[in-house]
Symmetry: C3
Subunit: 158 residues, 3 copies
């Protein structure tokens, strides 16, 4: 085990939880840590390209794809979303406070060397294809995650 | 602390979160880890027998019991449940993709030696009696959990 | 890393999750651990004074303040809230079972030496001022959290 490795399972695709994950990840990377983010279930949506990608999907895969948000920009709050008003308000406030947008936080974390891994099993279940993910994302399974977690001294599930 | 112990607090009773917990637990057990799952609050519902069990309950305990799902088979998604349609869709997709059902994942984890502990305090608050739990579950308190967590190198709260 | 340090990120402001955090924190403190709770996002609401505090806020800060619960006493369940009925029922049951109220659990944890840190960035985004927080709370950033987590052997995100 190493003092300078951290992992986070990003299970949630909510705007607020994604922000918490990115802020912890970037903070740890800035302090010299090797950080691995493992995106699974709803968290996968944060990694989707903002524009629709033409891929072959069966009916249910297309349905899921259509029901779930395209990328971090479309993530919504876990609380107080209120049909979009709460989320818009939060984003507006973050802008006035000079807090980066969720997609900028994601991009910054990647720039700082945070490793992004998309869960292969969740991709399969949700019908998300590799071409639909933003650049710089690796694909891995639960063994990949557990290998990183074994080496880390902080492991969170968000 | 040991490299080969893991614990997960299973606080959530949601289908998706339960699946994530079981997949991580079984994966870790398959890699030779000693894994302890500590089921508390809504997570307890995953351990309830699928059929009603005749036990003495007071009015509020009976109310809680009636409002909460009986076992993993009745767990629902934390998102996109949509009055049952999203959950049914997810289950159908998982079936076509050969992903095990939540109750099978639970059973498999147990077969692989994952330890299941039900939180005694939550059982008391929610009025869940030992006879209502599936076989193979031990009952323990927060000290039991902390004892296991102290010995583990990965501890998650799901 | 030390066997006797624990940290919890209290992201959620839900009654049930706050209780889980406090019970684990107090249990660990009782077993001789140095425990640090880092309150961020909705979790910050648990630290607000129960009575309104007169501070200068801009319109959006005032809106947020008005929409979010004032302290642990007003926290609600993440599930089965049912317009207040489920939360009231849970609180009633906890009372009959001699489980402490959330605000008592918070107070007890503090008395036992659990360290309470409010996330400065979340305070800024949500417009919560130091005067609005209960006594005994320190203010810190993500680096403070990561410093504590690096030294701990159990780190949870709730």
């Amino acid at each position: 085990m190493s003092e300078d490795k951290k992992t986070i399972v990003v299970f949630s695709g909510d705007l607020d939880k994604a922000m918490a994950a990115m802020i912890i990840a970037s903070g740890a990377a800035a302090m010299g840590n090797e950080v691995t983010l493992f995106f699974t279930f709803w968290g996968l949506n944060l990694l989707r390209r903002p524009e629709p990608v033409s891929v072959k999907k069966n009916f249910l895969e297309a349905m899921f794809g259509w029901m779930m948000p395209l990328g971090a920009r479309r993530a919504t709050l876990s609380k107080l979303h209120m049909g979009g008003m709460g989320t818009a308000m939060m984003k507006y406030v973050m802008k006035t406070k000079n807090v980066a947008t969720p997609e900028a936080l994601l991009h910054d974390a990647m720039e700082m060397g945070v490793k992004f891994i998309a869960c292969s099993m969740s991709m399969d279940v949700m019908g998300i294809k590799p071409e639909e993910l933003i650049d710089g994302v690796e694909i891995g399974g639960v063994a990949t995650y557990l290998g990183s977690a074994d080496d880390a001294n902080v492991n969170l599930f968000i």
